[in-house]
Symmetry: C2
Subunit: 339 residues, 2 copies
């Protein structure tokens, strides 16, 4: 199979068509100043040899770019981020650009390596869900004229465009809705506060309590779960307290899903009815949330649009550099389903 063949060059096409490489080049870029019959011969040779212009060779010429966007996200497998990546890909494809996709696994070192690699491959710009609070490598990229767009999270000390969610406002509205529904013991399940969204959503949660003058019981605040299993364990611990929460505020889909799984598991033992379990407020909607055995409200938002917006910010900057840093905050939508 695949006799390690050879990728034809413009020279070979030229030879094949009995013209000079320049004529091939001209034909391929519109055919200006090439006689129609010559063009035909060239295109025939192109088809026959299966020639494709070497974009890497083209991109090294002065004033030309690679048409590549580097996308570094923390977890490709998380549907939220993969949908985000789809949004970026779609917008990029509209301009003929492609995305180089890399996974950071929430690891700063890996992100560094990834960005460095992307720069070596001469990406035109970077879309990053920052995994650390260190801006150096991203600032470096910008200094070299490679614009960076931060998505979902924003890090201090980096003068780069960003698109994030209305995390704090959304969380506050969600938590307030629970308080208004009469809940006083509301458990918090979120990712670590060292992450932008974790910090902001927690702040919104706290603000809701503050505004109502209700104290927060830190015993039922669990921040730091990054996986469904960790969230599930945190939920288990909370539910077995002598005085468990009557509602759970989940700061992202990993935590909401973990909570649901644990509640569902306990329900299947049949000891207590669903009404004995806390209802849920989830920051992030997710597929099949509607199957929840306890009422679940969501603070919804659109990851695909987040990706599209990030890409547009980047593409705008590529077209017309300069101008102030743009910080976009996408709205979230609260959808209530309480008892």
């Amino acid at each position: 199979m695949t006799a390690r063949a050879h990728r034809p060059t413009i020279k070979e096409v030229a030879q094949h068509a009995g013209v000079s490489p320049m004529t091939v080049s001209r034909t391929l870029s519109g055919g200006l100043n090439v006689k129609p019959d010559v063009q035909e011969r060239v295109l025939a040779a192109v088809a026959e040899l299966g020639y494709h212009r070497n974009e890497n060779a083209r991109s090294i010429r002065p004033g030309h770019s690679s048409g590549l966007i580097g996308v570094a996200i923390t977890n490709i497998a998380n549907p939220y981020y993969s949908t985000f990546a789809l949004g970026v890909e779609e917008e990029a494809a509209l301009t003929g650009r492609r995305i180089l996709l890399g996974n950071t696994s929430e690891d700063a070192v890996r992100e560094n390596a990834l960005v460095s690699d992307f720069l070596g491959r001469r990406v035109e710009g970077l879309v990053v869900v920052p995994a650390s609070n260190a801006p150096e490598h991203l600032a470096d990229a910008q200094r070299q004229g490679v614009p960076v767009v931060q998505a979902s999270r924003r890090i201090d000390g980096l003068d780069a465009d960003s698109v994030v969610l209305a995390d704090e406002e959304g969380a506050q509205r969600g938590a307030t809705a629970l308080l208004d529904a009469g809940h006083t013991r509301i458990g918090y399940l979120g990712n670590t506060l060292s992450i932008f969204t974790g910090q902001r959503r927690h702040a919104g949660f706290v603000r809701a309590f503050d505004e109502r003058g209700i104290p927060i019981d830190q015993d039922i605040v669990a921040a730091g779960q990054q996986t469904v299993d960790q969230a599930r364990e945190a939920t288990r611990a909370m539910l077995q307290m002598k005085n468990p929460p009557t509602a759970l505020f989940c700061a992202n889909n990993r935590n909401a899903i973990g909570a649901l799984k644990e509640i569902n598991r306990q329900l299947s033992t049949g000891v207590r009815p669903a009404s004995d379990y806390p209802e849920i407020m989830s920051f992030d909607d997710f597929e099949l949330a509607e199957l929840s055995p306890v009422p679940i409200s969501v603070i919804d938002h659109d990851p695909r649009e987040l990706g599209r917006t990030a890409a547009r910010l980047l593409l705008d900057r590529l077209d017309a550099d300069g101008g102030a840093v743009r910080e976009v905050e996408l709205p979230v939508e609260l959808r209530m389903h309480l008892r």
Copy 2:
């Protein structure tokens, strides 16, 4: 912001360090035959200027490759495929390669354009979930020495490595399990039979009935749903028949999720108990399947492993070309949860 700066070249680094470009090049590729103190000066210049080797320039030299793998999948946002992409990315990253990711939206024309673009960017190989049955563009790639690995689906007339699932066997086992549980009216919900997996899973379904000598009622066979909403509508239609199925065989997660959503919606009207609704056999596990209000069994498999395997097939072929076409079939695991 971002004074459209400049990406340093090897020449500038050389000048900065007071050496020739070759010395920089040598230093960067291990430092063989460069005095330690000179290396230091070079590395200092590299750091100061933020220099990154231009991989595109490197890759155009004879005998060198781009370190890029082109990945064309049908739907990035589908958790199944994004997890698959993660698997490919992981394996590729182990060898220092990156993935160019493109979405085909199940559209042959788009796939063609994508592959053509990938070839222009000099990818070393392609991992494709084929969206059509036309092998031409992929065969072209192979002819040029760009190996192709087909994942999840296989198309006729293409001499390329592939990794697929034990679709037929898995489907047959799942359907047989339903028959053994006493079901005789089993509805089928699947994607179109023109797609490899759709065809194979349906064949397995049919074979189960054939082996038991039980006829299939074509009125409750619905193939062609590609989205959750379409699956939901097909389910609705089936459930409102005078003689609805007592079990549903869903050939993929989109169809299973659509079925679940419809059943759940009808249940929430409270007219009939869950026990009146069909139980489900799903080819594909998915997050929160356990919340199903009706028993759900799954024919499980690991998309990440599918991606890893695809990548390994490709990387193997890059290392050592030649050898017969390899067709890998990954096993599936049946997990029963019936009434």
